[in-house]
Amino acid sequence: MSHLSLSITRQRPLDPPDEVSGLRQRGAMHRMTFADGHLGWLVTGYTAARAVLAHPHFSNRPDLMHPLLPNRMQLAERGKFPVPRGFFLRMDPPDHTRYRRLLTGQFTVRRMKTLEPRIAEIADACLDEMEAAGGPLDLVESFALPIPSLVICELLGVPYEDRAQFQADSEILINLETEAEEALAAVGRISAYLYGLIRRKREEPADDLLSGLVEGGELDDEELTGVGFLLLVAGHETTANMLGLGTYALLTNPDQFAAMRDDPSVVDNGVEELLRYLSIIHLGPVRTALEDVEIEGALIKAGETVAVHLPVANRDPERFPGGERLDVARPAGGHLSFGHGIHQCLGQQLARAEMRIAYPALLRRLPGLRLAVSPEEVPMRSDMSIYGVHRLPVTW
């Protein structure tokens, strides 16, 4: 019997591939062949996805993981991809715990609240510039990317004027077509840049997160480079794509656009619904079983790799009835878009603060916002490991 391999072709830009959604009728756990021929699993059910992500017997180590897609970067990752020590996302406890514990105090709900006035100021400045320039323009370049980029740079203490190189390198790293050598070069450039920055902070500490970690004295310079790497890349690619793709989703669902614009009480939940509905982490997360584990009747053997399909799990009708529709008024809490378990997004409260400010600021300042091209002409990020729009031409 032949087993399925992962389909990544979407029939409609905001819906997961029909082939994957269709699996749901056959259960939550599916045997799937990975790119290197490994017979692993694909998870499409919400409860099963939560169970896998929370289970202590599943590892996030890249050297155990079988590649989901036949791109060279993923293939190389299994053979030890040289990210600096301190890139704690792809670690298991207790190593992961040690790094994460040093950072969680910096990303609390309360701490992120104190950033809100500055985020609002940055969003307003972007909108001032957009109004001065006049439409049509690319919303990604003018709004969706600069807000999270400037916020994470200021928080970490990374000079914003240096962004051209690390933004380009970060795009190389999440492009599915990237060759292993190109990816290595990009990792090398970001690492070298951050290493230099950390050395400078050791000499002249400032009031920022990286300086605080340097002064804390628990991490060496290479570890700090790895931590900085993770926070910088993650802080850019996630909220930026949520703002770009979210605006596209609202513009193509005018009743939802109006609800988010006209009713402030809808915004917080609307952000959760956009997170759920869009599920921009569209290929993974992926885990490997360290011991035999049973999930919803399926026996996953030690060494088998499991891919969780977040876009489909987040539309599981048992958890989110009518979940294939965008409905900013639906109770959307509990979605898995920030993950679940010990690796759940460290920066999620920052992302929430950014989106809760940026969406209403945009929709209220430019209430007549509309696409400057037809929806079909908007280039989607099907070629990237984080989904979104490459560009979003808009006018008002």
């Binding site: 105090g105 920030f338 010990i342």
Partner: protein, 63 residues
Amino acid sequence: MKIKADTSVCIGAGMCALTAPEVFDQSEEDGTVVLLQESPPETLEDASRRAVTLCPSGALSLE
């Protein structure tokens, strides 16, 4: 309702403090959960239950 919080497994994601801020806070130092009231009043029971369900690390439980 009585809530138990295990700070040794907490990962500081902040879902509890976001969902039921009257019941949960986070430590300034390491972001782990601080239980403001072990037995919240009835008016806060729904939000507290939601917070327990949303906790990603299994640090929260109900007795």
